[in-house]
């Protein structure tokens, strides 16, 4: 999976490749499913980042940041394979602006994070997870605002289905802790995370569309 194009997908998304490289990568994407999946995930994260409002962070951000730091310091985060780090490093270009905004935007966060970020790689993955969590959080809030239009039965179904997807994500994470180099698990985790975002977007769209 870690072919020569893997670390250039972010440039591709940002339209920073020269024309020849862009064409070559487009041809490569036709035959490389792994690259397509990574590209989709980067796109999803970028899309989520774009959809976030350009506003000062709310007070409620801090518990998430603290929880993310706590997860790192407690050692519960799994070790990342080169493959995952390569994929994660791609995300940073897309989400760096947002993560800087989140982390630098509050003095107390900056103070708290200093001893918790031993390497750039860990910080990168943390920022990606944080961005993903924020996107999910925003969508959950939007769905919650529209719950009156969806009805209790639908909310129950959606809640149960989100729990089902979360269980799949958790299974993949735990398995990846045991087997960090497992390409299938990396793809599986990415797919389930994308599925959760897609479901939340769908429910949000429904809530807006119906009376």
């Amino acid at each position: 999976m870690t072919d020569k194009w893997t670390d250039r997908l972010s440039e591709y998304l940002d339209d920073d490749l020269v024309a020849a490289d862009r064409l070559e990568l487009q041809e490569h994407l036709k035959i490389c499913r792994e690259c397509r999946i990574v590209l989709n995930e980067i796109g999803a994260v970028a899309g989520a980042a774009r959809s976030l409002r350009d506003a000062p962070p709310s007070r409620s951000l801090w518990p998430m940041v603290a929880a993310a730091i706590s997860r790192q310091s407690s050692g519960r985060r799994f070790a990342f394979s080169l493959l995952q780090l390569a994929a994660a490093s791609l995300f940073v270009a897309v989400v760096s602006g947002l993560s800087v905004w989140v982390i630098v935007g509050r003095e107390d966060v900056r103070v708290a994070e200093a001893p918790m970020m031993p390497t750039a790689s860990v910080q990168t993955v943390s920022a990606v997870d944080l961005t993903y969590d924020r996107a999910v959080d925003d969508l959950l809030r939007a769905v919650d605002e529209g719950r009156d239009r969806l009805g209790p039965r639908t909310i129950e179904v959606v809640t149960r289905s989100l729990a089902t997807i979360d269980r799949a994500i958790s299974d993949a994470r735990i398995a990846l802790e045991q087997d960090p180099g497992n390409a299938f698990l990396t793809l599986h985790l990415a797919r389930e995370r994308q599925r959760k975002l897609a479901l939340l977007r769908q429910i949000q769209s429904f809530a807006q569309a119906v009376q």
Binding site: R153, V157, S161, I165, E192, L199, F206, V210, Q211
Partner: protein, 306 residues
């Protein structure tokens, strides 16, 4: 885009007298039922939008370039039929509460459809245009459709029979049943099962988290098939003379439980690696990915479980 109000006037001007008319202005007494019946000419490329549907939408075809809208509803529900450019828009409202109506639409086969609703049962037959349907609770049934189809439902079941175009179906809880369909099929559910029977599809992607996947039919030599689940099982029922290469990725087990004579390829047994099996000449390309589900392959007519 033309202003709605002006197009309402156009709509009224273009409308034919209803075939069994009942003037909307004549409000029946409380508790009684009312019926709207109006026929509107449409041009090639037109689309019918049913917004905020609460009730049933039944769509059938005829050879006229016109859309007949018949709606049965309570006396307190008003049915609005507006034309905006190439879009014929149908919706309902009511003095108090929401408008509930059952629509029966007769349309030219080429019409494009977009139907959105909370509790909305959709039934469409023999339409070749683009179909988009989104429901929260209602079931969606499509028969003999040949254009691009995009259906999303939360709780409803989705059924497609005889589809021939590019099809995308998704549910959260409901099952997806596809029969006798060709073309390209993408189906996704979180908890519902996905069943594809008598398939002649050339490209298939079926994906669930918890539901089972069942595929019955031919694997075309030029076909590409992808089945992914987290916990669900995958069952393929394919003819003995099938020519296919099957790649399996799983966290738990990359073994295929098959009564057909698959030849193991590079199956290393290491978790996470892709095991490859072949049948016949290995023409069709099949990929199966499951976290902990079982993979079974059977001949037609065999007991599916063991």
């Amino acid at each position: 885009m033309t202003v709605v109000s002006s197009m309402v006037i156009v709509s009224v001007l273009l409308s034919e007298p209803s075939m069994s008319p009942q003037a909307p202005a004549q409000r029946p007494s409380i508790g009684s039922r009312a019926e709207t019946d109006q026929t509107v000419p449409v041009q090639k490329g037109a689309r019918v939008d049913v917004d905020d549907c609460l009730g049933e939408v039944l769509v059938r075809t005829w050879e006229r370039d016109a859309v007949r809208v018949r709606a049965r509803h309570t006396s307190r529900t008003r049915v609005r039929i507006d034309t905006v450019g190439q879009v014929l828009r149908l919706d309902t409202d009511a003095d108090r509460g929401v408008g509930v109506a059952d629509f029966e639409l007769t349309v030219p086969p080429w019409i494009n459809l977009r139907i959105v609703g909370r509790t909305c049962v959709v039934d469409v037959e023999n339409v070749s245009g683009t179909i988009s349907a989104e429901t929260v609770e209602g079931d969606v049934t499509l028969r003999g459709v040949s254009g691009t189809v995009d259906v999303k439902s939360v709780e409803g079941e989705v059924a497609l029979e005889g589809g021939r175009g590019r099809v995308q179906l998704s549910t959260v809880e409901g099952a997806i049943r596809i029969a006798k369909s060709a073309g390209e099929i993408v189906a996704e559910s979180v908890e519902g099962d996905i069943t594809l029977s008598d398939s002649q599809a050339v490209a298939v992607e079926l994906s669930t988290v918890e539901g089972d996947i069942s595929y019955t039919g031919s694997l075309l030599a030029s076909g590409r098939y992808l089945f992914t689940t987290h916990e669900g099982d995958v069952l393929l029922v394919i003819p003995e003379n099938t020519s296919a290469t099957v790649g399996v990725r799983s966290f738990e087990n990359v073994r295929i439980d098959s009564t057909l004579p698959f030849k193991p390829g590079n199956a290393s047994g290491r978790r996470g690696q892709r095991a490859v099996y072949s049948l016949g000449g290995g023409a069709a390309q099949v990929e199966i990915e499951t976290f902990e589900g079982a993979v079974r392959v059977r001949r037609p007519g065999e007991t599916q479980k063991d």
